[in-house]
Symmetry: C2
Subunit: 163 residues, 2 copies
């Protein structure tokens, strides 16, 4: 049984990821990037977000290496910027899908979910699944946290050598 | 190819789920619930969150059916409240793990991740995986959104019968 009281949370991977992408607009920018949106003006219009907020959220994602910023130029126009998911950004797709899957199940109307993620290779629906390395399908209530190699102990004892 | 421009986003399952649990403290309350934390005082102390904020976030999660509120009484104390994940709440564990997995991969120090999720039945490490119904393992960049049965078209045309 995991004893939460023993460990510090300041190196928590959930909190760290949320600090980067947990803000609502930031996550919705990621959703649009997953839908194939690339251009600043398209993000702004589709999300209905103020341009200064969008600039800020895109910078956060570019600085974190989640989106890559690239110039493009339509014929007869000045150079503008577009943004695409990097490989590191694409690894957040499971988080987008996890939230989507929960919403599809618990919030969608009787007509069903608005979006279905499919495998581009074969067109079959994609699902997130939890499996253990022994090959078992794992329902959420059978998951248990254990301390990993980077766990930091809460210690009230003075450090060795101190006072 | 999915044409994002054709569809409305106001019934988006990602946005709907984020509206419930996307706020940073709310998601960290879920993390603690996944770690087995139950009692108000424990949430408050472990998160370092102000009690009025915690009350608010717990109410949101109880109202959404994600946490269940139950009385408990320690010997010699007055009745207090504890909160546990419902089945609906446990279905958010994949979202917690998706964020954790990304953070473990991109933010953890050289010593490794602080927490490892394992299968309670067998002790083997648990991983989130994307698979399609045809049985293929699906890397994130091979996922494509298509319109589902609940997709709402953007329509600038007047509704049938109008004007």
């Amino acid at each position: 049984m995991f004893d939460r009281e023993l460990y510090r949370a300041d190196n928590c991977s959930v909190a760290g990821t949320l600090a980067l992408v947990g803000e609502r607009w930031t996550f919705l920018v990621l959703r649009e990037a997953f839908f194939g949106v690339r251009r600043f003006d398209d993000f702004a219009r589709l999300l209905g977000i103020a341009r200064n907020l969008l600039t800020d959220r895109l910078s956060t994602l570019v600085d974190a290496g989640i989106l890559a910023k690239e110039p493009y130029r339509d014929q007869g126009s000045r150079e503008r910027m577009q943004y695409r998911l990097t490989a590191k950004g694409a690894e957040l797709v499971p988080a987008v899908l996890a939230l989507m899957q929960w919403g599809d199940r618990h919030l969608a109307g009787p007509e069903g979910p608005p979006i279905r993620p499919v495998h581009a290779g074969c067109g079959s629906p994609v699902q997130l699944a939890l499996a253990c390395s022994a090959g078992h399908h794992v329902p959420p209530y059978e998951i248990e946290p254990v301390a990993g190699p980077g766990a930091l102990l809460v210690s009230n004892a003075p450090a060795a050598g101190a006072g």
